[in-house]
Every structure is written in structure tokens, then in C-alpha cells.
């Protein structure tokens, strides 16, 4: 994404304007420094402390927390679960939401407004209660999903209570809950596609698919990267839903990293903020690395495409 924006052509301007430029970024920089950079730096500092629960005793222990983290199977298990959730749900959300957005972007589609609202609704539904509803929907003995399975002669599935299926079930509910957000990202992005282009193409006799691949897609490419990244970040922070639906269980099968960090920091029988901070820093570094490599690959592929 850094790449896509970096190449935006800026109109050459004189000195008078450049002062305004700094005035415009200043508020963001100041707030960013206070509420993102400072906490990040603090987290790195915390991660080198032995800091238990109520914070009077803080002793500097260097890299001890990191040593422990590297050999903590639950942490790496949680990273594995989180990565799995990202790898599975992000592409599904991006594709399904794009399809939805394209259909709902058509002003001539009957009931479009109503439908847009309907698909946005799960986003605002209170997570604590969503957990209860989904418990009924996915109930192993009386839920409608299992009733449907029974109709086609399949055995009942304990969707949330078995460590084999709990993660898949959480992922499905996660996609359901947050699809509306990705949809409105896409709707916003679609507004940069000039309508006249469509009209011209339609007159030329281009079908829906050709219009999509030849007009919409190329114009959306920069947004694919931005929205993809936003969706990855949101998915990394999957937290409330897991906490209310499974609490990370059964037997760690849905323990995502944010939940594990939270447990270490605040919910353990003996909370350990220093260790939790170390886990947070490690996880952050890990993700930045993964995303960095992905962006590099995207750039390479696109660079090649441009050469050819």
C-alpha cells in the first residue's frame, strides 16, 4: 500500500503551499506520536520487565520474557490459529464482500438500500448476545443447522463444543459478523470508478464479466491492497467474538493470539503484564514481517506484469 500511494503524482507547488502540507499532517503526527508510538515504545519497555499484576514491583529482566515466549507452545499455537483464521477468512471476506458491493452498488437494483442495511446489521449486533444466538443456531441437538444436516442424512455436529469443528464455526460466524464492514469499504472504493466508463462499455456491448475484468478490477487494484490489509488487521484483532463464543477453547482449539495475550495480562490467576507485552511485541514483529514480505511479492509481481 505504501507503494501504491507513493507513486501518486503530486502537483508541483511553491513554498507557500508546503507550509499547509505540514499543517495538514501535524495533527495526525502528534496524536499518532502520543497514542500509537508512545504506547508501542512503552510496550517494548514493559516487555523487558518482570511485572506482575498490580504494578508496583517492576524489575528489569532483559530478554527473559522473550526467552520464555519462544518456548511457549500455547503462544505459538495461538499464532498458528490466528494465521489460519487470516488465511481462510480474509480471502473469503474480500471476494464475497466485493461481489456483494458490486451488486448493491447498482442504483437500479430493487431494494438496494434495504439490502445494504441488512448486510451491515451483524456489524452492529452486540457481540455478547451474538454468542448466545449462535449457541442456539449451532446447537448440537436442537439447532437449525443440525436439523438441516439431519434432513440430508448427515450425523449431528457439535459445532462449538468439539475441538475439531470449533475453529471453523468461529470463522464462519466471524465472516458473517464482519462481512458488512468489508462491503462498505468496497462500496467506497467503487465510487472512484466513473459511471460513464460503464455506460460506454455497455453501449459497446461488453458483458458484465468483461466490464468487471476490464474496467472495475484495474481501477480497484490499489484498494485491493488497502482493504486487504485492513481486513488482515481486523482479523488479527478477533477477540470479543472468540471470548464470547468459545473463550479460546475447547482445549485451546480457538485460542487466538489476542485472547492469549489478554489472558496473560489480565485474566490469568497470576497476571503478568511484562510477559504479555513481550508476546504482543513478538506477534507485532511477526506480522509486520509477514505483511512486508507479502507486499514485496505483490510489488515484484506487478513490476514484472508492467515490464511484460
Amino acid at each position: 500500500m505504501a507503494a501504491t500511494i507513493a507513486h501518486a503524482p503530486g502537483p508541483p507547488r511553491g513554498r507557500r503551499v508546503s507550509r499547509w502540507v505540514y499543517v495538514f499532517v501535524l495533527p495526525t503526527l502528534v496524536l499518532f506520536g502520543m497514542y500509537t508510538i508512545w504506547p508501542s515504545v512503552s510496550s517494548i519497555f514493559y516487555s523487558m520487565l518482570e511485572w506482575r499484576g498490580l504494578g508496583v514491583d517492576r524489575t528489569f529482566t532483559g530478554l527473559a520474557n522473550y526467552e520464555r515466549a519462544f518456548s511457549d507452545p500455547l503462544f505459538w499455537g495461538s499464532v498458528r490459529v490466528t494465521v489460519l483464521v487470516i488465511v481462510v477468512t480474509v480471502p473469503i471476506r474480500l471476494a464475497a464482500a466485493l461481489l456483494l458491493a458490486i451488486m448493491l452498488n447498482n442504483p437500479r437494483l430493487p431494494l438496494a438500500r434495504l439490502l445494504r442495511t441488512a448486510f451491515f446489521i451483524p456489524v452492529v449486533a452486540t457481540t455478547a448476545i451474538v454468542g448466545i444466538v449462535m449457541g442456539f443456531v449451532l446447537d448440537p441437538s436442537s439447532g437449525p443447522v443440525n436439523a438441516a444436516l439431519e434432513l440430508v442424512g448427515m450425523p449431528a455436529v457439535d459445532f462449538l463444543g468439539s475441538s475439531d469443528t470449533a475453529l471453523s464455526s468461529v470463522m464462519v460466524v466471524h465472516v458473517w459478523k464482519w462481512l458488512g464492514i468489508t462491503m462498505i469499504y468496497w462500496l467506497a472504493a467503487l465510487q472512484t470508478v466513473p459511471v460513464d466508463l460503464y455506460e460506454a462499455a455497455a453501449i459497446d456491448g461488453a458483458g458484465a464479466w468483461r466490464r468487471f475484468t476490464h474496467i472495475t478490477m484495474p481501477l480497484l487494484v490499489p484498494f485491493v491492497v488497502i482493504i486487504g490489509m485492513l481486513t488482515v488487521v481486523e482479523t488479527m484483532q478477533i477477540f470479543d467474538l472468540v471470548l464470547t463464543m468459545t473463550g479460546g477453547g475447547p482445549f485451546f482449539s480457538t485460542l487466538v493470539t489476542e485472547v492469549y495475550i489478554y489472558q496473560q495480562a489480565f485474566a490469568a490467576s497470576n497476571p503478568n503484564l511484562g510477559y504479555a507485552a513481550a508476546l504482543g511485541v513478538l506477534f507485532g514483529v511477526f506480522t509486520v514481517l509477514v505483511v512486508g514480505v507479502m507486499l514485496l511479492l505483490v510489488r515484484l509481481v506487478r513490476g514484472k506484469g508492467a515490464d511484460a
Binding site: 441437538s141 463444543g161 468439539s162 468459545t246 475447547p250 497470576n270
Partner: protein, 490 residues
């Protein structure tokens, strides 16, 4: 065409900025004292706890105090999940309340050692009435009183609550003090076989409660245990004869097998695998299952939310192998502590003295939550029959366990130093029931060993820091399950 409306939107948002900023600056200056923490004395006494059902009882003593003294109490009730974090954040920003319930995960002796809580001065009446129930290392430190227990140690979380009609239809005796494991299994199977309702609803998604239930059942199966306090935390629970962690012992293995057999019998409500205690209770109360394990507070919750169902409910003690079995917990800790930053010392002392009055115990009983420190007041209180029955069971079958912490408060420093071992006891139960753990015995042995190793490490750290503590502090060779290990036996 859209331009005018856009301008309106812009204009509107500019106005909103001004309004919002104006409002902010107003509220920041008119707030109690703006940015600085509230002055140490003066202002309402801040009281934070996580005992939502105690509303009435606490309000009673707050009113009593307010009417006599010039002050008022501002109480905030937290969800237990959030209380610990709230306290950590409050401490980090010098906003500790005057009184709080300790959900920090830190044992009380460590709170004292870190200077986070301060002693109170009880009135003469309160001193007299609590003299037998205060333990050094739990409530008093160096002779100073820090808190008074309001709940009894005579309780557990594994009472069998049932739908009387269902139980009778399956041939069970609702008046029985308890059932044997075999009889209990038979009843559940029979109810489940009827097909109308499941035999039993369980809270498998709540590992903290699973842990308590396993410890209760293991004691019922004859495993004697030493417990530091009335709370159930694996690091606090040891074998009194050797001082070792004993989660792989016969009692625990049998209890786990018993629980597993209830599941494999097919008597369990299938949804139990993903229910916590609140949801499991609600599904049980809605008629989906006949039996539910819970503590005495179940009466209170049912009275509040499922009043129609309560008259059809009965309760017996937890099932045990032979239909008779004691359980025990360590001394009940104080629930409320005075923050050392409090400027309301006199007020807090007065309030804590009121906690020790029979009137408060009476009001507490009326809430039908955890049993009051003095069980006998329940008989005179206006409570549901199921609650009186639960308390009767407790006074017959629940005893006081020996506490290494009472013998040597240095034990508290060791516990505070220990890291949590995971999977924890509840998660192991969850794993065994769900098929993620094939060999319970090995899993429990690994757990005991890991705890023992962690305790050894913690002892080294604590001893190096100058505290005198050794493994001998955990050994109580003269204890027998079923007896009270009262203060005079230390």
C-alpha cells in the same frame, strides 16, 4: 445538484466540532477536580467489588454508616472478568478506590508486602465477634486486622440441583442428602432415556468452575487436601500428608472418570460442551435438562430470573462414591480490602466493623448468594427452602481444611511468585471430556510435576529475598478429611 447539501453537511460538521469542543472543555473543568486524582479525603468513599447480588446487603450498611457519619459511599459493581483489569489500570493511574475486592490474582500477603492495602481498626463489638474467625496470614498481618470474612468456608460449587418432578419420575429421592455415583448415573441415564429432556446440563466452557467441581468431587471421593484459602486455585491445593501436589492422585482420577462416565452415558445436554455456568443454568432452568451442578447462589439467581421454576427445584449434596463424603476449604479470605491510598480510613474501619454485625449476615443470607460467615443466621432469615437446604448440607458436610498460608504467611509470597501452569486443571478436564487428552493420568501427573517444579523455583526466589519458607510448611500429618483444622491446631 448535490453541492448545497454538501455544504450543509460541512457546515453541520463544523458546528459539531465547536459544540463538541465547547462541551469537552466544559466537562473537563467542571468534572470533580479536572485532571488530578480526587483529593485523598473528602468526596464519596469509592467502593469497588464484583458481588452484584450483594446490592441490598451492602446498601444496608452504607446507609447505616451514612446516617451516622458525614459521608457517602459510591459503589461500582464490576463483572469479574473486568475487575482485575480495572484494578490494574486504576493503580497505574493513581485512581485506586478506597475499598476493593481482590480480583488481582495476587494473594493477600503479597498485597500487604507491596504496601497496596492498609489495616483497619474494628470496633469493640466487631473485634469480639470476629476473634475466632480471623487468621494471621489471611486476615491479619503482624497482628493488624486488614479485613473480615463475610462468607463461610463451609461451601462448594458442586451441589446437585434438580427438577424435583424429573428426579422422582426416575426413582430418585429428592430428600436424600446425596446420591452415590452409581445411583446418580442411573438417574441421569433414566431421565435422558425418556428423550424429553437431557439428564444433566454442564458448564464445560467455564474452566474455572470445572476446576472447582473436580476438586470438590475428589474430596468427596476421599482425597484429603490442604487449601490456602476458601478459593480454589491449583497452586494453593496440596496433599496434607506429604505437602506435594496430588492432582494425579486416586481421588482426582476417580472424580474425573466419574464426570467422563456421565458424558459417555449420553445423559449430558449435548450443548454443554460450549456453555459457561450462566448459560448452562439458563438452559437447565428452561427445562432442557434435569440436573445441574452449582453453588448455593443458584437459589438467588433463580429467584431473580427464573422465579417460576424455583418452586420445582430441589437440591442435594454432590454425589460421592458411597453417598457420604466430606469436603473442605481453607479459611475464607476477606472479600474487601482498604487501599493504602485511601483517605477515608475511619469510614472504611466503620464500614468493615458493620460487615461483622449479625444484621449484615442476616441481610447477606437474604440475598441467597455465597453463605454468610455465620451459617446459623440463615435459619432465621427469609430465604427460599432450597437455600436453607443447601446451607444445611454445608453445615453437615463442609469442614475447614488446613492452610499452609496460615501456618507461614511466607507461603503467600511463594504463591505470588508462581506462574500459572497451562493447561490448567479446568482445561485438562475439558480436554479429557472432549477427547483432546487420551490419557488423563499422564496429563494430571504432568500438571502436578509442573506445579511442583514451579513451586521449587518460587521458593528459591522467595528464600533468596529473605523470607523463611520451606516445603515443610505444606505438611499436616495430623489432618484427616472430615475434621476442622481450626486455629488452635497450628
Amino acid at each position: 445538484m448535490h453541492t448545497p447539501s454538501r455544504r450543509m453537511v460541512l457546515g453541520g460538521s463544523a458546528a459539531a466540532v465547536l459544540a463538541a469542543l465547547a462541551a469537552c472543555s466544559r466537562s473537563s473543568t467542571s468534572g470533580s477536580s479536572g485532571s488530578t486524582p480526587p483529593p485523598a479525603s473528602g468526596g464519596a468513599l469509592q467502593w469497588w467489588d464484583h458481588f452484584e447480588p450483594l446490592e441490598g446487603a451492602l446498601q444496608g450498611i452504607f446507609d447505616t454508616w451514612s446516617s451516622g457519619a458525614d459521608g457517602e459511599v459510591e459503589r461500582t459493581v464490576y463483572n469479574p472478568n473486568e475487575m482485575g483489569q480495572a484494578l490494574q489500570l486504576a493503580l497505574g493511574s493513581d485512581q485506586m478506590p478506597d475499598v476493593f475486592s481482590n480480583l488481582t490474582g495476587i494473594p493477600t500477603p503479597a498485597l500487604v508486602a507491596r504496601g497496596l492495602i492498609s489495616p483497619v481498626t474494628l470496633g469493640a463489638d466487631a473485634q469480639a465477634s470476629t476473634s475466632a474467625s480471623l487468621f494471621e496470614g489471611v486476615h491479619t498481618f503482624d497482628g493488624d486486622v486488614y479485613s473480615v470474612p463475610i462468607f463461610s468456608h463451609q461451601q462448594h460449587s458442586t451441589l446437585a440441583w434438580f427438577d424435583v418432578e424429573q428426579l422422582e419420575r426416575a426413582g430418585g429421592d429428592p430428600e436424600a442428602a446425596t446420591q452415590t455415583w452409581d445411583e446418580f448415573r442411573r438417574i441421569l441415564r433414566e431421565i435422558g432415556a425418556g428423550g424429553q429432556t437431557a439428564g444433566w446440563a454442564w458448564n464445560i466452557a467455564f474452566d474455572g468452575r470445572l476446576q472447582e467441581q473436580l476438586v470438590d468431587l475428589a474430596q468427596g471421593a476421599g482425597q484429603a487436601l490442604a487449601l490456602n484459602t476458601a478459593g480454589v486455585n491449583p497452586a494453593d491445593i496440596t496433599d496434607p500428608s506429604t505437602g506435594e501436589y496430588v492432582f494425579h492422585g486416586e481421588g482426582f482420577l476417580q472424580a474425573l472418570e466419574f464426570l467422563q462416565s456421565l458424558v459417555t452415558d449420553g445423559a449430558m445436554l449435548p450443548a454443554s460442551t460450549s456453555l459457561d455456568a450462566r448459560e448452562a443454568r439458563a438452559r437447565w432452568a428452561a427445562g432442557e435438562a434435569a440436573v445441574f451442578f452449582d453453588g448455593p447462589w443458584n437459589s438467588g439467581v433463580l429467584a431473580g430470573q427464573f422465579a417460576d421454576f424455583l418452586p420445582r427445584v430441589g437440591v442435594t449434596n454432590m454425589p460421592t462414591p458411597d453417598g457420604a463424603g466430606y469436603s473442605a476449604r481453607g479459611p475464607s479470605s476477606g472479600q474487601f480490602w482498604q487501599s493504602s491510598t485511601s483517605g477515608h480510613g475511619e469510614g472504611v474501619s466503620a464500614l468493615f466493623s458493620l460487615l461483622a454485625t449479625p444484621e449484615f449476615a442476616q441481610a447477606l443470607a437474604g440475598n441467597m448468594d455465597q453463605p454468610p460467615a455465620d451459617l446459623s443466621v440463615v435459619a432465621g432469615a427469609d430465604v427460599d427452602p432450597t437455600y436453607s437446604r443447601a446451607i444445611e448440607i454445608f453445615s453437615d458436610w463442609c469442614r475447614l481444611a488446613p492452610s499452609p498460608l496460615v501456618r507461614n504467611p511466607g507461603v503467600g509470597a511463594v504463591i505470588a511468585e508462581m506462574e500459572e501452569i497451562r493447561p490448567n486443571l479446568g482445561e485438562i478436564v475439558q480436554g479429557c471430556v472432549g477427547g483432546d487428552i487420551d490419557d488423563p493420568q499422564t496429563a494430571l501427573k504432568t500438571f502436578s510435576d509442573a506445579l511442583a517444579a514451579e513451586r521449587d523455583r518460587a521458593i528459591d526466589v522467595v528464600v533468596a529475598a529473605g523470607t523463611e519458607v520451606s516445603l515443610d510448611d505444606w505438611v499436616f500429618t495430623d489432618y484427616e478429611l472430615g475434621t476442622d483444622y481450626s486455629a488452635d491446631r497450628y
